[in-house]
């Protein structure tokens, strides 16, 4: 007897448009992926990779897929964005603030509302002509398309605990397709925006994205996940990142979903030689958010920088699982993550670093610091080093504790009241992850968003 969650999805699959399921000869893959997910079920308490995140509450819920756009909803959102009547910036919700900024700065963007491409909110032009930038649904609907372009969708997920990747492979009919050819430097940033909104009943939304940066090319990608209205949907997204030789990708991901939304995200990145991948992740919302970030450094000299913050307040459960795989010589990673547990929140962090035999000259460094501010909150952290080469420098550090009393005293001795001093130090504690954002305007904007969120965090 499978769980209600999987039963509801199985029923939902039968209701998907047959043409969309069959498109690009993916019908077989989709059905097999669904069968595998149903066969193995959801990862249980004994699944090591899910040790600190229980799916028992989620598995009792039911969700139905949503395959068509809600035109009136999108039109309503478009009006709100276009409406330039001054609203106090503080009260403006994050999604609206961000979309207005993107629109004002004419940033090329794909916006998905409840898992479906929303042309009215998107802007496809503005990138160099050689760049392929389109919704996946458009490519799937085009019978003339070279099937090799969509090969990534045929990937099978073999491990029993990859339930959500399998479900994604079965269900995802839309997403971002972004290919930057060799040598192209994209001066403009590109945005991917996923908006959740209340729809009839709770919905399961699946999105699949591909970001490919060609040899020596560079791109600045901003990925946003917001709630446009209060909702309790399940959003399951899978991002493939391919960086060719010498490619550079700066990737910002901000997740500020509704406090009832469930997010399951996975990013699989593959880096060729000398490729450079910089990431900043902000986990600020949702009731349950699990993000798996798998980065394979396959070419020598490939580099990863990953910074992030987990803000687990309220009754939020945030679980980020990094898996960095050093498979080539002279690769490097630097991981700086901060976690905060307040209210009844729980922050779970796993920082896995694997250095394979032969990956000499590798350097790997992880810092995970956490603040635990409430007697009902919990922090679980597991930094892992798995090392099979000897010419390496690897280290990790993890701490769980409180604000530094010496710093607190210093601020108070200068006249800053205690509550304000605590907030300043908490902000500073988290802000460190933004240090590597090169775009000053963006950094200030994200800093403000973070500060706004932290202002609402009581101990």
């Amino acid at each position: 007897m499978s769980a209600p969650l999987l039963q509801s999805l199985e029923q939902g699959f039968a209701g998907l448009p047959p043409a969309a399921v069959q498109a690009a000869q993916l019908g077989e893959v989709r059905r097999a992926s669904l069968a595998a997910a149903l066969g193995d079920g959801l990862p249980g308490a004994r699944a090591e990779r899910w040790r600190h995140t229980s799916l028992r509450a989620l598995e009792r819920r039911t969700f139905s897929p949503l395959a068509a756009a809600d035109e009136s909803l999108v039109a309503g959102l478009a009006r709100q964005i276009a409406d330039t009547a001054p609203a106090g910036a503080d009260e403006m919700p994050a999604w609206l603030q961000t979309l207005r900024q993107l629109s004002a700065q004419r940033v090329p963007r794909l916006v998905f509302v409840n898992g479906t491409f929303a042309p009215a909110l998107s802007q496809l032009h503005g990138l160099p002509a050689e760049v392929r930038f389109e919704p996946l649904s458009q490519a799937l609907a085009d019978p003339a398309r070279d099937p090799r372009e969509l090969e990534f969708l045929a990937r099978r997920f073999n491990a029993a605990d990859e339930t959500f990747a399998r479900l994604n492979a079965a269900f995802a009919l839309d997403g971002l397709l972004l290919r930057v050819p060799a040598g192209v430097q994209c001066a403009q940033p590109v945005a991917l925006v996923m908006l959740g909104a209340a729809a009839e009943g709770d919905r399961a939304l699946h999105l699949r994205h591909l970001v490919e940066v060609g040899e020596g090319a560079s791109l600045d990608l901003r990925e946003y996940q917001f709630a446009a209205t209060a909702q309790a949907n399940l959003c399951n997204s899978l991002v493939h990142v391919h960086l060719r030789r010498g490619a550079r990708l700066e990737h910002l991901r901000v997740q500020a979903e509704d406090a009832d939304a469930v997010l399951l995200a996975r990013t699989d990145a593959v880096l060729a030689g000398e490729a450079d991948y910089g990431r900043t992740d902000l986990e600020l919302g949702a009731v349950l958010s699990r993000h798996e970030l798998n980065v394979s450094l396959q070419g020598s000299g490939a580099r990863l920088r990953s910074n992030g913050v987990l803000l687990a307040d309220g009754r939020r459960h945030l679980d980020t699982r990094l898996g960095v795989d050093h498979a080539a010589r002279d690769t490097a990673c630097e991981l700086t993550w901060r976690g905060l547990g307040a209210g009844r929140g729980r922050a779970v962090f796993h920082g896995g670093i694997l250095i394979r035999a032969g990956a000499d000259g590798t350097s790997a460094q992880l810092s995970n610091k956490n603040l635990l501010l409430s007697p009902h909150a919990e922090i679980d952290t597991q930094p892992v080093l798995e090392i099979h080469a000897d010419e390496v420098k690897a280290s990790h550090g993890a701490t769980v504790g409180q604000l530094d009393p010496a710093a607190l005293f210093y601020l108070r001795s200068r006249g800053v009241p205690e509550a304000q001093a605590r907030r300043q130090l908490t902000e500073a504690f988290c802000r460190i992850v933004l240090d590597d954002l090169a775009d000053t305007a963006l950094r200030e904007q994200i800093d403000a968003l973070l500060a706004q969120r932290l202002a609402g965090v009581g101990a």
């Binding site: 210093y410 601020l411 200068r414 006249g415 205690e418 304000q420 001093a421 500073a428």
Partner: protein, 255 residues
């Protein structure tokens, strides 16, 4: 302005200050000297309100307030400033932001209008100019990655900006080269005024060549054992602290 009477302080169960008394009036500069472990830094920390110091006896009046009853930020707002011996590095907290928050919190406490960003920046630039400090300092995080000299300079800059009634300099001269030392002294001298007092805590006489004190006190074994004018500092420099012990021997045997 500051009246310390018979102050006894314990740290981790050990008595460090054993009946210290000191009276500081507006406009005065008091130097407190003493050997390592005499309790010099304890005095600074107790006055600023650091946790972990148990006051077992004595009183401290600051103006018309019982200083020991005040929170650290209230002491600051009342006009007390401690230049730390080891200024704390606070990565991620911007110096300007921090100072504006501090200054405005103090102004609010005193019932003065808060400064807006423009007014604040104007004030900051003025102070920087006087102290010959580059405004690069403003963009950095509080003391983060600063050299020893830069940290001390930042303390003096904060003092200049916050304009306390009483400033306590806790071994501000330690680890400074002569140029940095002069800069610190210049900052202090510039701020000397009839209604502002200083307590300069130091191990060496050197700083007192540049900040000339009205009074010099010797702190040893938790008490002020000798007070005098600036010539006392020179005597100490010449003879070392051992000289004090020798002088105190008869007193001890008399007890």
């Amino acid at each position: 302005m500051l009246k310390i009477e018979n102050l006894h302080v314990r740290v981790a169960g050990k008595e460090i200050l054993k009946g210290l008394s000191l009276d500081v009036k507006p406009g005065e500069v008091h130097a407190i000297m003493g050997p390592n472990g005499a309790g010099k830094s304890t005095l600074g920390n107790v006055l600023a309100g650091r946790e972990g110091y148990e006051i077992t006896a004595g009183t401290v009046d600051f103006g018309d307030k019982d200083l020991l009853q005040l929170e650290p930020e209230e002491r600051a707002a009342e006009g007390l400033f401690l230049a730390f011996q080891y200024p704390v590095e606070i990565p991620g907290v911007n110096n300007t932001y921090f100072l504006k928050a501090a200054l405005n919190a103090q102004r609010k406490y005193r019932g003065q209008a808060e400064l807006d960003s423009m007014q604040f920046l104007k004030l900051v630039r003025e102070k920087l100019r006087v102290l010959h400090i580059s405004d690069e300092l403003l963009h950095r995080a509080v003391n983060s990655g600063f050299s020893g000299g830069e940290k001390k300079r930042n303390e003096i800059f904060q003092m200049a900006l916050l304009e306390p009634r009483l400033a306590i300099l806790d071994e501000t001269d330690s680890g400074l080269d002569i140029d940095a030392l002069k800069m610190v002294a210049e900052g202090v001298n510039h701020m000397r005024s009839p209604d502002r007092a200083f307590i300069v805590i130091t191990h060496y006489q050197r700083l007192l060549d540049y900040i000339v004190p009205d009074f010099v006190h010797v702190l040893a074994e938790g008490r002020i054992v000798e007070s005098g004018d600036k010539s006392l500092a020179h005597k100490l420099e010449e003879h070392g602290y051992a000289w004090l012990d020798e002088r105190r021997v008869p007193e001890r045997s008399a007890v």
